[in-house]
């Protein structure tokens, strides 16, 4: 069912899935969110706390007076000095730097302990520094001796305190404020504003990352499934026209794709039928020429022998052309008989045939080369190339070697070569170079077309190039194995 779903359907399902995950993240976020605590704190709230009058309802800073347990553990934490009953707290006694002497026990809050540790007179875990303006303000609000009050804050908060009216002073950042009570215990307010990322943001990011990690493979699978039929489609389009026996595209993929596949298949069928019809027509013409030619051959039997031989040569030439045309057509229509064969021996055989007839053909053969192919077709391919080399270049130099799992057959001649602009065209059926037409070298321009058809059928490729020292080099690459 999924396989036949339309692109629309698939997209819709993907979006639905994305939505569900995003919602899940949001829901998880709400359920597990830590309380918000980074709102600015009014200085008056701090003063109220330090005065022991309790936290204001709106303020984020809630700190009990000394000795009072905090109502909850969330920052900003208020804490007292040593609880009644005393006892040396772990971490040793804390001395507020710059504060009055006294043995305040370290508050139970670890952050405070860190902040006010005697070993770290200037707090290092934040950028807190003594804030004298704030201290003076707090002291005056409390009506206490400034010497009994400490205030550490960030420079920006201190600065805003120096310029603003007292009622509107908002502490936006971390601070530590304390007052030493007459009994020697400390009452303090400590507020820690975490930098980015704070606990809330960390949690949210984690959930988003989880969501993304869940969605990513889904999206990948989806994209792959969506693109696979399109990829197959383009591959088939590449093949189109090269291999008339190419199978029809399988009807797979989303609905829109099926429509395209159907159109493509019918187009391929039409094209193949066209090629076949053309092929059949050429074949029929070639074939039908044979009977009148045979008649002609018999009719001239009574002619004087000089004339008869001339006509006979013409007949033979036409016969060669017809055979070339029929061979070319057959190459493309016959199902190939594949054999495992030694390509080196095959090339040797062709070379030997020609050198036996007195032609200048040599082979520089490498190692034995086993490949799978149609021996008749491959032999014709090599023969065509050798004959071309002999026809246009007087001699043929063949070299056989293996490059990267492919066997490469180079055929060099000493002829004029082929202009680069025509090197693709010469592979086209019935295309002949002007020079070859004028030189009456015979043939109808199917030799290289046949070569290329055979090489392509064997999964290889054939290229032309002019050699530096003159002459043409034809390179045939075939897969080994």
């Amino acid at each position: 069912m999924w396989r036949s779903l339309s692109i629309y359907g698939r997209t819709f399902l993907l979006m639905l899935a994305a939505l569900v995950v995003a919602e899940a993240v949001g829901i998880a976020f709400v359920i597990y969110r830590p309380p918000t605590h980074d709102a600015p704190v009014q200085l008056s709230t701090v003063v109220r706390v330090l005065a022991g009058r309790g936290a204001g309802s709106g303020g984020g800073a809630r700190g009990p007076g000394g000795g009072h347990p905090a109502d909850d553990g969330h920052p900003p934490d208020g804490g007292g000095g040593p609880p009644p009953g005393d006892g040396a707290p772990p971490g040793g006694p804390g001395h507020f730097p710059g504060g009055p002497m006294g043995p305040p026990g370290a508050p139970p809050d670890i952050t405070l302990a860190t902040l006010v540790s005697p070993n770290q007179p200037a707090p290092t875990n934040t950028k807190l520094a003594p804030a004298d303006t704030l201290r003076t303000l707090v002291a005056s609000q409390l009506g206490a001796d400034a010497a009994r009050v400490i205030f550490y804050a960030t420079a920006s908060d201190e600065h805003s305190a120096s310029t603003a009216l007292i009622g509107s002073i908002m502490l936006r950042d971390s601070f530590l404020a304390g007052v030493r009570r007459p009994d020697g215990t400390w009452c303090y307010v400590n507020r820690v504003v975490e930098g980015f990322p704070n606990a809330l943001e960390r949690r949210a990011m984690l959930l988003f990352a989880l969501g993304a990690a869940t969605l990513m493979p889904l999206a990948w699978l989806f994209a792959r499934a969506l693109s696979a039929p399109i990829r197959r489609f383009s591959e088939a389009a590449q093949r189109l026209g090269m291999d008339p026996n190419a199978p029809a595209l399988p009807r797979e993929g989303p609905k829109e794709m099926l429509v395209a596949v159907d159109s493509f298949n019918s187009m391929q069928a039409r094209l193949n039928r066209l090629i076949r019809e053309r092929t059949n027509m050429v074949g029929a013409i070639a074939h039908d020429l044979r009977t009148p030619l045979t008649r002609l051959a018999f009719r001239i039997d009574d002619l004087p022998s000089a004339l008869r031989e001339k006509v006979d040569r013409d007949i033979q030439e036409m016969k060669t052309m017809i055979s070339a045309a029929l061979d070319f057509i057959r190459d493309r229509s016959l199902t190939p008989q594949l054999e495992r064969l030694d390509f080196r021996l095959l090339v040797e055989g062709v070379v030997d045939n020609h050198s036996d007839l007195g032609h200048d053909v040599t082979l520089q053969a490498g190692v034995p080369l086993t490949l799978t192919g149609n021996p008749l077709a491959l032999r014709r391919m090599v023969t065509n190339l050798v004959e071309n080399a002999l026809k246009y270049g007087e001699r043929a130099r063949l070299r056989l070697r293996v490059v990267d799992d492919r066997c490469v057959l180079d055929i060099d001649d000493d002829g004029p070569g082929i202009p680069e602009s025509l090197q693709e065209q010469v592979f086209e059926p019935f295309f002949r170079l002007e020079s070859s037409r004028n030189r009456d070298t015979g043939g109808i321009g199917l030799g290289l077309s046949t070569v290329r058809a055979i090489v392509l059928e064997h999964g290889g490729e054939v290229t032309l190039g002019n050699r530096k020292g003159g002459g043409l080099r034809v390179s045939v690459m075939l897969p080994v194995g």
Binding site: H287, R290, T291, L293, T294, R295, L296, A297, F298, R299, D301, D312, I315, Q316, M318, K319, I322, S323, L326, D327, R330, L334, E339, R340, L341, D342, L345, L346, E348, G349, V350, D352, N353, S355, D356, L357, G358, P375, L376, R379
Partner: protein, 245 residues
């Protein structure tokens, strides 16, 4: 050139089967002028009737005819031990030739053929026939020696591992001479004659030594034993026993 025309009844009777009337007439006239008795038929049905009545020695058969085509007719004639058959075909490729010979035709000629070529083939087939050797004896023309197989129609040589071994035309002709005359010393001249007959002797005369050495190398190297031996001052010999399959 022509056989003695003393007694026409003793001359071989050739039946020309072609759907093209002009060509039928031309071939008939050409062969009659060379002293043969010739009859003609325009399709397979007429041909079969005439074979019944006239009992020709040889049929020159067009492959592509309306009605029953030449190939199936030739197959029928071969299975019925009828007259010898030369196929005259508008299809001229190697494959067509092999198919024609495999179904039992004695020879195969592609159109357009040179009349003299046709005459030579006719003579050769009739000679073989009178020597008691016909296509039917050649059925399964596969020779085996030392595990190697040579199919002479398909020109297909396989080593004992079944690998196709490429032979050049000259090498094939030589090997064919060897398997047809196994375990006998064949002189260079004899090999030339067997392998190439008369026509192109000059060309092959020069090439035969290299052809023999190539053939020996191909066989001996793959077999890891000597299959073709050089007999000093006498010639060459195929050593293993040859069986016809």
């Amino acid at each position: 050139m022509s056989p003695p025309a003393t007694d026409m009844d003793q001359q071989p009777l050739i039946l020309v089967v072609d759907d093209d009337p002009d060509l039928r007439k031309l071939i008939t006239e050409f062969l009659s002028a060379r002293g043969y008795r010739v009859a003609a038929a325009e399709n397979a049905a007429v041909m079969l009737r005439m074979i019944e009545v006239e009992r020709p020695d040889l049929v020159i058969l067009d492959v592509m005819m309306p009605g029953e085509d030449g190939l199936s007719v030739a197959r029928r004639l071969a299975s019925e031990k009828g007259p010898a058959v030369i196929m005259l075909s508008a299809l001229g490729s190697d494959t067509d030739r092999i198919i024609g010979l495999e179904i039992g035709a004695d020879d195969y000629l592609a159109k357009p053929c040179n009349p003299r070529e046709l005459l030579a083939r006719v003579r050769a087939v009739l000679r073989r026939q009178s020597a008691g050797e016909s296509a039917r004896d050649r059925e399964g023309r596969v020779y085996e020696f030392a595990g190697w197989k040579l199919d002479v129609l398909r020109r297909d040589l396989r080593d004992p591992g079944g690998i196709f071994i490429e032979l050049s035309d000259g090498e094939f002709a030589l090997l064919r001479s060897f398997v047809e005359h196994p375990q006998r010393v064949l002189s260079r001249d004899r090999l030339l004659e067997y392998a190439h007959g008369g026509n192109t002797r000059d060309v092959f005369d020069r090439a035969i030594d290299s052809q023999i050495s190539r053939l020996r190398r191909k066989l001996n190297d793959r077999a890891h034993e000597e299959l073709i031996r050089t007999v000093r001052n006498e010639g060459y010999m195929l050593l293993p026993k040859v069986t016809r399959l």
